[in-house]
Amino acid sequence: MRILLLLTVLTLSWAGAAQARYYDDVIASGVIHIGAYKDFPPYSFEKEGIPVGVDIEIGHRIAEAFGVKMEVHWITPDESLEDDLRNNVWKGHYLDKDENDPLAAKHLADVMMRVPYDREYAFKRDDQGLLINDQVVLFGPYQRERWQVAFDSEKLDRVGTVAVFQYHPIGVEIDSLPDFYLTSAFGGRMRKNTHHYFSNSEAFAAMQAGEVDAVMGMRAEVDWQIGQAGNPRYKLAENGFPTMGKQQWDIGMAVSQRYRQLGNEVDVVVERLIRSGEIEKIYARYNLRYELPGLYQDVAQ
C-alpha cells in the first residue's frame, strides 16, 4: 500500500502541468490550461495558427487576472457533454496514453469553456438515484445562447414563421437540435426541405452556393457567418420556433469538483468582466450580439 501511495504522489508532482490542478498549483506553475472546442468559430478556433474566438479571449482575461500564461487545451467534441466533461475535465480520454511514460497523467483542462449552465442538467440523476455529473462543478454563466435562422433575401422576402420551410430548402448541422426540430415538428412537414451538413459553416456556404435558401443554427454562429459574408443579401430572420423545446440556454464553465476553489476564483474574474461590459465588447469585436445569462438578467430586474 505504501509503495502505491508513494507512486501516486510522485506521479502527481511529476506531470503537474498536464492534468487539472488546484488553484495554488495553477498560480505557482504560471500557466492555466483553458479547454475550448476545436475549429468552432466564433467561439474558439485558429486563425493563422493563433487561437482566437470569444471563449479564447475570455480565457486570456482569466489568465491575465491570475497573472499567468494561458495555454489552450483543444477539445474534439464527443457525442455528448458528459463525454466531453469526462474526457477533458475530470478523467481524461482512454486513448491519451504515453507508451514511453505509462505513469504520465492525462491531458486535462483546468477550466473548460462553453459548458451549458443548467441546474436541471447539473443535478440530473441516473436510474440508481446517483448524480450523473458529480465529478464536475458547472459554474460561471457568461452568455445566453439561442437559435437563429439566416436567409437569402433573393430567395425569400422574409421568414415570418418556420412554415416557409415547407416550401423552401433550409440547411442545418447534422444531429443537432435544429435537425431534430425541422425533420420532426408539425408532423414532419419541413422534413423534405431539410438539408444536412457537417457544420454550420458548411450549411452557410451551401446557402451562398444557392443550394439552400436559409440556415438554422446557434445565434452566435449565424451572426458570425453573416459578418464574414459581408453581403446584405444574407439577413437574420425574426421568426419564432413554436413547439421547440429548448429555445435558449446559458453558457458557463466547468472545473473538476476537486478544484472547486479554482472555479470560485475564475467565477470572480468572469463576473467582473460581465459587469464591466468587457465581455459584451469581446462579442462585439466578432460582430456578435451579446445577451446576458439568466442569472444577471434576474439580478438586473
Binding site: 457525442e79 514511453n100 443548467d118 442538467y121 441516473d126 444531429d175 435537425d179 425533420t183 422534413r191 413547439t243
Partner: protein, 587 residues
C-alpha cells in the same frame, strides 16, 4: 510508441525460423477455402469462409475433455487492457492475434513465446466511435492484414511484423473506424467500416490482398454510387438500390448510417459475400419514415464486382438500434430428401432467420430469446409485425422541453445477440447461439447538450429480465426453430462459440471461464477460469498429432460502457489481456 525494427526484427526472424523446425508456407486461396477441413491451421475468421466455427477434430471430446489443461498463457502487456474480442489465427506453428488499441502479436504456438509485435501509431486526438477493440487478422500469402481504429488496412510481413502496405479505407476524422477482422476472398481482402452517429455511410470495399490496390467500393445506403477500378481507373458501377429517395425522406440518405462494422462471411457455393449493416441514421426513426434501405440488413455481394445480388432487411425502419450486422452462416440441410442451400442468422432484434442463400428468400424465422415485445411476430416474408406502442418516442412529443414518455422495449439495443459469433455443428445440425435476455427503458431526453448547444438526447437504461441470468447459450434447431438445450449465465455473454466433432461446444464467459458443453445435451463438461472475462472467440487446431484449443481473455467491449442495473452484475469483473492455450496431457 514502441517500434520493432533493427535488431528486434532480426531476433524475431531468428526466433520465427527456429521454432520446432516448422517451415513456413504462404497462405493460399485454397488454404482459406479448405480451412474447415484442414485441421492443422486456422487461416480464416470463423474456421472456414462460411463462418460455421465447426472443427472436425475429436481428440478432445466429451470423454477426454476433463483432462484438458492449459499449456501456456501469453500476456498482451502494457496498460492497454480494454476488451479482447479477437479470434486468433494459426499457421505453421505461429499464432497471429490482435489486441485492443490496434495491436498485433505473433506467438509461437508451442511455447507461447512472442515472435513480434506491431503497435499501430494512432493519430493524436482520435475519437474512435466504437471502443478500442479489434476482432482479428486475415492471412494471405506472406501477409498478416488487419484494420485499425483510424480506419486503415495494414498488411504486415508475417515473418517480421514489418509493414508491407497500408491503405486508408475511410477518414477517421469523419467518424470512421475499423474493428472487424478483414476477410480474404479469391485474393481480395474485403472489409467494412465502423462509424458512429456523425452522418457516416457504410460500405464494403475490396483490395488486392498482395498489393493493397483498391478493386471496388460498394456503399450500403440506397442512392450512393458504387465504383470499380479497372487498370487503375475508377469507373461508376451502379447506384446502390438504383436511385436515391425511394425509402428515405429528404436528403437523409446522404448520411444514412448502415455501417458494415462486423465484416462478413463468404459462401463459395454461390460466390457471395454476406455482410450485415448497422442501424440507419439519425437514430430516431420518426425523423426518417420509410424502410431506410439497406440499413439493418444482410447483403449478398458479388466479390468479383461489388454488386449487391440480394438483400434481406431484418428490421425495416429500425427505431431501436437493432443493427443488422450479425453473421449470416451458410449451411445445407435436408428437407424430404432435397438439399436446401440455406443460411442462418440470429439478429439483434431477437429473431433468428433461415434464408435461401441463393436468392435471399425467407424460409422461416423464430424468436431465440424468451421475450420479444417490439414486434408481435414475422409475416410470411419475414418482415416484422410491429408493436407500435414499443417504438421509442417521437422527438416532437418532447419539444415542449419535457421528458418524452418512456418505452420498455425487449430486447435492449445491445440485442438478443450482439456481435459474438454463433457456431453450427455439422454433426448435430444445431446452431449454438450466444444470447442475452435484457430489455431497455428508452425515452427522449431534453436535458441534454452537445458542443455547447441544447440537444435532444436518447435516455436509456438496460435492465435484466431475470434475477439469476442475462446470458443464455442456446442450441437451436434451424429446421424447427425449437430450442434443444440452454445454459444460463449470470452476466451477459459477449464471446464467440466453437463447436467440434468431439461432441463439444466451447464458449467463454465474462466471469472468466472457458466452458465446454456436451453438444447434444448441454451438460457442462469442462471449465477453467482464465483470470479475466472472455469476450473473444475460441479456436482449435492440431499440431504434431495433438489437438489444441486457444482463446483470448480480457474483459471489456460494449457491455461495461453502459450503466444501470446491468452494471451491478459486471462491476466486479477485472480487466486483462492474454491468450490461453489448452491441450490434453500426453498419454
Amino acid at each position: 510508441m514502441k517500434k520493432f525494427s533493427g535488431s528486434f526484427a532480426v531476433s524475431a526472424l531468428v526466433a520465427a525460423m527456429s521454432l520446432s523446425g516448422v517451415s513456413q508456407a504462404n497462405v493460399t486461396d485454397k488454404d482459406i477455402l479448405q480451412d474447415q477441413s484442414t485441421v492443422e491451421d486456422v487461416v480464416s475468421n470463423g474456421l472456414g469462409p462460411r463462418g460455421q466455427r465447426y472443427s472436425p477434430l475429436d481428440k478432445i471430446n466429451t470423454n477426454t475433455v476433463k483432462d484438458m489443461r492449459p499449456v501456456w498463457s501469453f500476456s498482451f502487456g502494457g496498460e492497454k487492457q480494454r476488451g479482447q474480442e479477437s479470434q486468433p489465427m494459426v499457421k505453421d506453428g505461429v499464432m497471429y492475434v490482435t489486441a485492443s488499441y490496434s495491436r498485433v502479436f505473433a506467438v509461437d504456438t508451442k511455447t507461447g513465446d512472442e515472435l513480434w509485435e506491431y503497435n499501430a501509431r494512432l493519430p493524436d486526438g482520435i475519437m474512435p466511435c466504437c471502443d478500442v477493440i479489434n476482432r482479428g487478422v486475415a492471412l494471405y500469402d506472406d501477409l498478416v492484414i488487419f484494420g485499425t481504429l483510424d480506419a486503415k488496412l495494414v498488411a504486415l510481413d508475417a515473418k517480421t511484423g514489418k509493414v508491407k502496405w497500408k491503405k486508408t479505407v475511410a477518414d477517421y476524422k469523419e467518424g470512421y473506424s475499423i474493428t472487424a477482422a478483414p476477410m480474404i476472398v479469391n485474393g481480395k481482402v474485403i472489409t467494412g467500416v465502423s462509424g458512429g452517429e456523425f452522418g457516416i455511410v457504410g460500405k464494403a470495399e475490396a483490395y488486392d490482398a498482395k498489393t493493397g490496390k483498391i478493386l471496388w467500393s460498394r456503399p450500403t445506403v440506397e442512392g450512393h454510387m458504387g465504383y470499380i477500378w479497372k487498370d487503375g481507373k475508377k469507373i461508376e458501377n451502379g447506384i446502390s438500390g438504383g436511385k436515391p429517395g425511394q425509402t428515405w425522406p429528404g436528403d437523409l440518405w446522404k448520411s444514412g448510417g448502415a455501417a458494415t462494422w462486423l465484416g462478413g462471411t463468404y459462401d463459395p457455393d454461390t460466390n457471395s459475400v454476406f455482410i450485415g449493416t448497422g442501424n440507419p441514421a439519425p437514430w430516431n426513426s420518426h425523423m426518417r419514415p420509410g424502410d431506410n434501405l439497406f440499413s439493418s440488413s444482410r447483403l449478398a455481394i458479388d466479390p468479383d464486382t461489388g454488386k449487391i445480388k440480394w438483400h434481406f432487411q431484418t428490421t425495416p425502419h429500425d427505431g431501436w438500434d437493432y443493427d443488422g450486422v450479425n453473421e449470416l452462416i451458410a449451411f445445407d440441410y435436408k428437407d424430404g430428401g432435397k438439399t436446401v442451400k440455406a443460411a442462418a442468422t440470429a439478429d439483434r432484434n431477437g429473431f433468428m432467420y433461415v434464408l435461401n442463400r441463393t436468392n435471399g428468400d425467407f424460409i422461416r424465422g423464430f424468436p431465440f430469446i424468451d421475450e420479444i415485445n417490439w414486434a408481435k411476430g414475422l409475416d410470411k416474408n419475414g418482415r416484422p409485425i410491429y408493436n407500435d406502442e414499443m417504438r421509442p418516442g417521437n422527438p416532437s412529443a418532447s419539444e415542449d422541453g419535457k421528458k418524452g414518455s418512456s418505452v420498455h422495449a425487449v430486447p435492449a439495443f445491445l440485442g438478443g445477440k450482439n456481435w459474438m459469433p454463433m457456431a453450427y455443428s455439422q454433426d448435430t445440425g444445431l446452431f449454438y447461439v450466444p444470447s442475452n435476455e435484457w430489455g431497455m427503458d428508452i425515452w427522449n431526453e431534453p436535458t441534454a447538450y452537445k458542443k455547447g448547444a441544447a440537444y435532444l438526447g436518447a435516455g436509456f437504461t438496460i435492465k435484466p429480465l431475470s434475477e439469476d441470468h442475462i446470458g443464455v447459450l442456446r442450441a437451436m434447431d434451424p429446421k424447427t426453430g425449437k430450442e434443444v438445450w440452454r445454459y444460463q449465465n449470470f452476466s451477459p455473454l459477449w464471446g464467440g462459440v466453437l463447436a467440434t466433432a468431439g461432441n463439444l461446444v466451447f464458449i467463454g464467459t465474462p466471469e472468466g471461464y472457458l466452458k465446454g458443453f456436451d453438444a447434444k445435451t448441454g451438460e457442462v463438461k469442462y471449465q477453467f477460469n482464465t483470470g479475466s472475462g472472455i469476450v473473444g472467440s475460441p479456436i482449435t487446431w492440431e499440431q504434431d498429432g495433438e489437438q489444441f484449443i486457444s482463446v483470448v481473455s480480457g474483459w471489456g467491449g460494449a457491455v461495461p460502457l453502459w450503466g444501470g442495473e446491468v452494471a451491478k452484475r459486471i462491476k466486479h469483473l477485472n480487466q486483462g489481456g492474454s491468450i490461453w492455450t489448452f491441450k490434453l496431457p500426453k498419454s
